[in-house]
């Protein structure tokens, strides 16, 4: 992979959740008090943690949780890719589609019918069609099918140690190396 060559003064880090459950973000926060140390080493850019809505022009590391289930996910992902030096697929959903991709076995129509028309207790059954709602993709996809991905953190979710190793390695300008127990889960 593209190993970091020059070491920037202070890394900027952006994160976002696409079709994910925020479990990966929660696991990131399990670095606990080390978050204070981290905050001194990096600047957080766009992230649900900062509530910043768009990436700055140049971000060093972008962490993506979740796969792609709708058009908005694709747009956000493309913005991330364009802004970030290193893009990291975080967790099963980003890497493989994960739980949301379970719907890939069915047609989109049968999923929507099940949720909005056939389910018990629905009044005014119809498939929502508000232009505010992003169009759903035919199939849920992992992010590497749409943009280049530089690193992956496997797991559902990856353990806090994996986030810590990734970021401290990139800060120090070395290749991250995940210990066996931080990438194997059975």
């Amino acid at each position: 992979m593209n190993a970091p060559t020059e070491q920037p003064a202070r890394l900027t880090v952006a994160t976002c959740s696409l079709a994910g459950c925020f479990g990966c973000h929660m696991s990131f926060l399990d670095v606990d008090e080390r978050i204070v140390e981290l905050a001194q080493l990096v600047t957080f850019d766009r992230s649900p943690l900062t509530d910043v809505k768009h990436c700055s022009e140049r971000v060093d590391v972008g962490l993506i949780e979740g796969g792609l289930c709708n058009v908005e996910n694709v747009e956000v992902l493309r913005e991330f890719r364009a802004s970030c030096r290193y893009l990291v697929a975080v967790g099963s959903c980003a890497i493989t589609g994960g739980v949301p991709a379970v719907r890939n076995k069915f047609t989109l129509e049968s999923c929507l019918r099940e949720a909005y028309i056939d389910a018990p207790g629905i009044d005014n059954p119809h498939i929502p069609c508000d232009p505010e709602i992003p169009l759903l993709l035919n199939k849920v996809r992992p992010i590497h099918e749409v943009v280049r991905v530089d690193y992956v953190l496997p797991g559902c979710p990856p353990p806090a140690e994996a986030f810590w190793e990734l970021l401290t390695a990139l800060i120090a300008g070395r290749e991250p190396e995940l210990a066996y127990e931080h990438r194997r889960f059975d």
């Binding site: 129509e109 929502p128 069609c129 759903l136 199939k139 996809r141 280049r148």
Partner: protein, 596 residues
């Protein structure tokens, strides 16, 4: 729905004819498929009930085998072989022509239930391509003119048994005979010779001959037999007549013309180890030979060569023929045993080897058709008759089935150790730029390697030799093989199940001119991974042709890569929202900025 064989045969009849034996489940399901054009839910429930099997076991079987279906096929069920050499002979064109004339989509039954036209893997008639199956019967040399006629016969509901006989004519395809094809054993003579010599002495003879397994892997036949001989307890003999490796069609001629020699070999093995029963596992595509083989079995029983007290030896042995149902992996020895037991053909964990724990948990000798034929001939003629041919590490002659860009495709019996160049000279393939030795699972060699030898020490093959000339696109060949493996992977282990799909995806992307250097690197690393971590030989060999052709014909790959881009997604946003647009009627413009 009307059916080719008539609906009259009941599920009860089928189960009763197979003695309610669980290991004959696949045979029962085949008959349901043939008489009803599919295996209805009712049949799944029925067999689960009467055989006392879990419903999931029966359903799993139906879903595993390509020739079994859970939804109705057409009254006429037509398959065309889509193996590389069949395509070179125009199989796609004739298949499409038939589909167009009948107004069907490939792979889907017509709404009126009249017909289904689909593609299938190699049917084993490559030198008489384009070949295929119509309601289970093999047709060869299909032409567009014949297709016109076929379409009208189908429209008029004329049963396949009344179609022109010449469509179903299968040549034996023999071009060059060697010691094996010239040796016909008068029925019983090899058995009598073996008994007179003594069975252990006959085993020594087979060992001394140096005969190696003719199915491809080349394991010494004598050593396998000795292993079983020295194992206590009950034994079985099984013959691998699955012949699924695309481009292999040499067992076909042995089954058609050398059945006595085959049964003789199996019987000698059976008498040697004290087996009471043997099975020939024959690919479903060869069903048309079943009748002939049953006749030979009957004749042998009548002559006291099968059944009780064979040739006054006091020993009993009998044979049955089982049919496969369209699964390449069932040629893998342990998957074959699973399939013979009436299960899905999922390869077993080894060790133990089949010689220790094989069919029904007993010591089993499993050999290829040609191995048994040659073993019988060795038992009759002695070790030297065989070992005088071939080279030091690969004794004897081998049947090669040659197809593709050569003037004289067909079956050649040649001494092992022969160079690829010599093989090409014999079959009129001097213009070859590449030769695929051993089928998609084998090795692809280019011109500068034509002095390499066909032998177990160099280029091993179960018989398949495919010849490609300068006009052939090797990337496309490798892509088709990638599709074959992705289709045939049994799905048991992740490296192969997922890896073959990924290889197929990247091969398509590159072949379609959408790939980058990065994709090519992906193929290499996924390929090595799949080879190294798969559970059985299918996965271990699935990436071979992609890796071989990348190495040997790099310019065919690099010339079609997108040079400027590092990453090109195989993704089109507009094409990815067609379903939700259709459901909501929305036509919003999408942001089409691409970035990588």
């Amino acid at each position: 729905m009307a059916s080719p064989l008539g609906q009259s045969v009941t599920l009860h009849d089928i189960a009763a004819r197979h003695l309610h034996a669980r290991h004959r489940l696949l045979q029962m399901l085949r008959e349901v498929q043939a008489s009803r054009s599919y295996v209805p839910e009712e049949a799944i429930q029925f067999f689960a009930h009467v055989l006392n099997l879990p419903i999931a076991h029966v359903r799993g079987c139906v879903e595993f085998y390509s020739f079994l279906h859970t939804t109705p096929r057409g009254q006429f069920d037509v398959y065309f072989s889509d193996s590389v050499t069949d395509r070179m002979a125009g199989s796609e064109i004739v298949a499409k022509r038939l589909a167009d004339r009948l107004g069907v989509t490939l792979g889907q039954p017509r709404a009126d239930g009249r017909v289904t036209v689909s593609m299938t893997s190699c049917t084993g008639h490559c030198e008489q391509a384009p070949a295929g199956l119509a309601n289970g019967r093999v047709f060869t040399r299909m032409t567009e003119a014949r297709i016109e006629k076929m379409a009208s016969l189908i429209e008029h509901g004329v049963p396949v048994s009344e179609w022109p006989a010449e469509w179903f004519h299968v040549d034996d395809g023999i071009r060059e005979r060697g010691i094996t094809l010239e040796t016909f054993i008068p029925p019983g003579e090899a058995i009598r010779t073996a008994l007179a010599r003594g069975l252990p002495a006959t085993l020594d003879e087979v060992e001394r001959s140096g005969l190696q397994g003719r199915g491809g892997a080349g394991f010494p036949v004598g050593r396998k037999w000795r292993g079983a001989y020295e194992t206590k307890g009950a034994h079985y003999i099984t013959c691998n007549a699955d012949e699924g490796e695309p481009g292999t069609f040499k067992d076909r001629v042995l089954l058609a013309k050398y059945a006595d020699e085959l049964f003789e070999g199996m019987t000698i093995a059976g008498l040697l180890v004290g087996a009471k029963k043997g099975y020939v596992y024959m690919r479903g595509e060869y069903e048309y030979m079943m009748e002939g083989l049953q006749t030979v079995l009957e004749e042998r029983r009548a002559a006291g060569l099968l059944g009780e007290n064979i040739c006054e030896s006091g020993l009993d042995f009998d044979l049955r023929i089982h049919l496969g149902a369209g699964a390449y992996v069932c040629g893998e020895q342990s998957a074959l045993l699973e399939s013979l037991e009436g299960k899905r053909g999922i390869p077993r964990v080894r060790p133990p080897s089949a010689v220790k724990i094989g069919l029904f948990g007993q010591s089993t000798i499993n050999n290829n058709v040609e191995s048994f034929v040659q073993a019988a001939q060795i038992a009759w003629k002695g070790a030297e008759w065989f070992s005088d041919h071939g080279e030091t590490k690969s004794r004897g002659t081998k049947l090669l089935s040659i197809a593709g860009d050569c003037q004289r495709p067909g079956i050649y019996e040649l001494p092992l150790g022969i160079t690829v160049r010599e093989v090409l000279a014999r079959c009129g393939g001097e213009n070859a730029k590449a030769v695929q030795v051993g089928g998609p699972a084998g090795t692809c060699v280019g011109r500068d390697e034509f002095d390499r030898r066909v032998s177990y020490a160099d280029l091993a093959t179960g018989g398949s030799i495919m010849v490609f000339n300068d006009l052939r696109d090797m990337v496309d060949v490798a892509r088709q093989f990638a599709h074959f493996f992705a289709h045939e992977s049994c799905g048991f282990c992740t490296p192969c199940r997922v890896g073959t799909q990924m290889l197929k995806h990247y091969a398509d992307k590159i072949a379609d001119g959408q790939g980058t250097q990065r994709d090519l690197e992906q193929v290499k690393s996924i390929g090595e991974f799949v080879k190294g971590y798969s559970h059985c030989g299918l996965g271990e060999t699935a990436p071979n042709t992609l890796l071989d052709t990348i190495k040997r014909f790099p310019e065919e790959y690099t010339s079609r890569l997108l040079a400027e881009a590092d990453f090109v997604p195989d993704f089109d946003l507009d094409a990815s929202v067609t379903e939700s647009r259709a459901l909501t009627g929305r036509q919003d413009q999408l942001d089409q900025v691409h970035s990588d």
